[in-house]
Amino acid sequence: MKFTIYQESRVGKRRNNQDRLAHCYSREALLMVVADGMGGHLHGEVAAQIAVQYLTEAFQREAKPRLADPFMFLAGGLQNAHQAVQDYALAKRLPEPESPRTTCVACIVQDSIAYWAHAGDSRLYALRDGRVLAKTRDHSTVQAMVDDGQLTAAEALHHPLRNRIYSCLGGLQNPQFDFSRKTTLARGDMIALMSDGVWGPLDDLRITTALHGRDVMQAVPGLLDEAERMGGPNCDNLSLVAMSWGENYGEDTLQSVETQSLPMDAHSTQMPEFDRRPTPLPELTDEDIENAIDEIRNAIRKNSQ
């Protein structure tokens, strides 16, 4: 297998990054996964971490170096990850409204064929020649309304319910998973998995344009920059892993992978460490406090005249 791959996750304008992503490959199989956690406190983060970790560990156990059946792997892996998130909520005795939940999109490539599955609104795009070859359908209320013809795609972009999803890992409801067709990859095809922080502020055209014909090492940060800019002051967490099949932009590209060089039972995994510490709050200085108080006192004075 020959491909180039690159992944990056950013916190955006949020205090915590509740997104998790990873990729992992053996000599003959590749796994990519993105999860976007939801739930109060740090639980969303934990849910996403559990899902990503569970899938990568299962991959390392089973892909030696091939998976017997990639779809079965995805079905079992996602269902078990869902239960692992539920178990965590039970162990912590978290009440239902606080229970950790996460979206998840995962993709396997083996024998030049891509297989993917998802729950929620983290997306996978398969791109060929700068066009969308295939893409996941969000499990969101808004997507369902678009499908019913109640909304246009343009209206959906700013709809107040655009973040409401009806399938995810964790929580009491059993998730709904959608599975792709077997998609045979050609040289130059690209597969990109991303959280809604990336696709939310952009349309498909911008996404494909940003990824087309570029080395993933440049394309990924470029697309994240654009999404972050468009995301504005409330920019959500952004996570993106993109893989370019059979391509090799220049011999020195660090992200270029030739899996034949891997020993039969070895794996290479890239998964960011679980960062327990939230990014520190900007310090409110004594001066900030005095200024705020002065401002309020002035307003009171003005208003009482």
């Binding site: 915590n16 709050l281 401002e295 208003n303």
Partner: protein, 314 residues
């Protein structure tokens, strides 16, 4: 997360800036409210920022203990208190509590508000459970909504409307108290400053979709507060309704006792889907003040006069 601890109020007689503390009026997770007197012996209500998950005042102490670990979050939480102060400072409306002063002391911040004589709607409900008249409900809420309109005009949300936060002055004019307006800003600010909900009054989006808050969120709470006036009971909490809706509609529960139009209006406010509720306070106010409320509790005289009219009509 540290367990919530009980904070001690400032002692009676304590001199705070130019005020003298009389006693504690109420304590919430976020603050303590005192009755105090200023230099002219005018009573005022003073609210002290003291989130009990971050700061602890033990008996006999004045300065709260704020651990190094919580220092930054504690200060950050002040922002909400400032937001509340800012919000109120810009509002000048007879149905919204008035802020008189704002100052810093004892390593925290204080907001001085006009003290109103009277009692909360909650106290009124407790006292007159099951015998509150339709005209009272319509009058109180139509006037209260004037204040809420002013709040929404300033692009603020209250987010904690409930009978305990609605004050009835002695002349019966209601005042909206305790602005959690800025608390929504806290949503992403960390685990120890979770926004607070009052079960039964909080709308589903406050639990599930904080990005969907809007005037309709306050309207849900207004509906729940009117519902509480009918029989003294609070509607099933929205969070449980989302699981299994056992909400007894006002229309079913109080049919015959109040006009169908009022009951339908209350149920309308309490729709789980915010798109189905009255979209603005104005829309709700219009319905509450419609002349229709002349069709009140049918008495035997009404029945008789109707029958007479029927006879004359023939």
């Amino acid at each position: 997360m540290s367990p919530p601890q009980a904070n001690q109020p400032l002692p009676p007689g304590y001199p705070l800036e130019n005020y003298r503390i009389e006693r504690q009026l109420s304590m919430g997770g976020f603050s303590i409210v005192y009755l105090a007197y200023d230099e002219e012996d005018t009573p005022v209500a003073i609210k002290e920022y003291l989130p009990n998950s971050l700061a602890l005042r033990t008996a006999g102490d004045i300065l709260p203990v704020i651990s190094e670990e919580h220092r930054s979050t504690f200060r950050h939480g002040m922002k909400c208190f400032f937001e509340e102060g800012r919000a109120l400072a810009h509002l000048n409306h007879p149905n919204v509590v008035r802020v008189l002063n704002f100052f810093r002391a004892n390593e925290t911040v204080y907001m001085v508000m006009q003290y109103e004589r009277g009692r909360t709607l909650q106290e009124h409900i407790n006292k007159h459970r099951g015998e509150i008249k339709e005209s009272f409900i319509r009058n109180v809420f139509a006037r209260l909504l004037n204040g809420l309109r002013e709040v929404h005009t300033h692009k603020l949300l209250h987010l904690d409307i409930k009978p305990a936060n609605i004050y009835l002055r002695i002349d019966g004019n209601p005042v909206l108290l305790d602005f959690g307006a800025a608390r929504q800003a806290l949503e992403n600010e960390g685990p120890d400053l979770k926004p607070m909900y009052t079960p039964g009054y909080a709308a589903p989006e406050q639990y599930k979709a904080p990005d969907q808050l809007g005037p309709w969120t306050d309207i849900y709470a207004v509906g729940a507060s009117m519902y509480a006036c009918l029989g003294g009971t609070v509607p099933q909490p929205a969070i449980d309704r989302l699981e299994k809706d056992r909400f007894e509609s006002a229309t079913q529960k109080w049919a015959g006792k109040y006009s169908p139009q009022l009951l339908e209006t209350i149920d309308w406010c309490l729709d789980l889907d915010y798109l189905e509720r009255p979209l603005s306070v104005f829309a709700l106010q219009k319905v509450l003040t419609e002349q229709q409320h002349a069709v009140h509790e049918a008495t035997w005289i009404d029945n008789l006069s109707q029958r007479l009219r029927g006879l004359i009509g023939k």
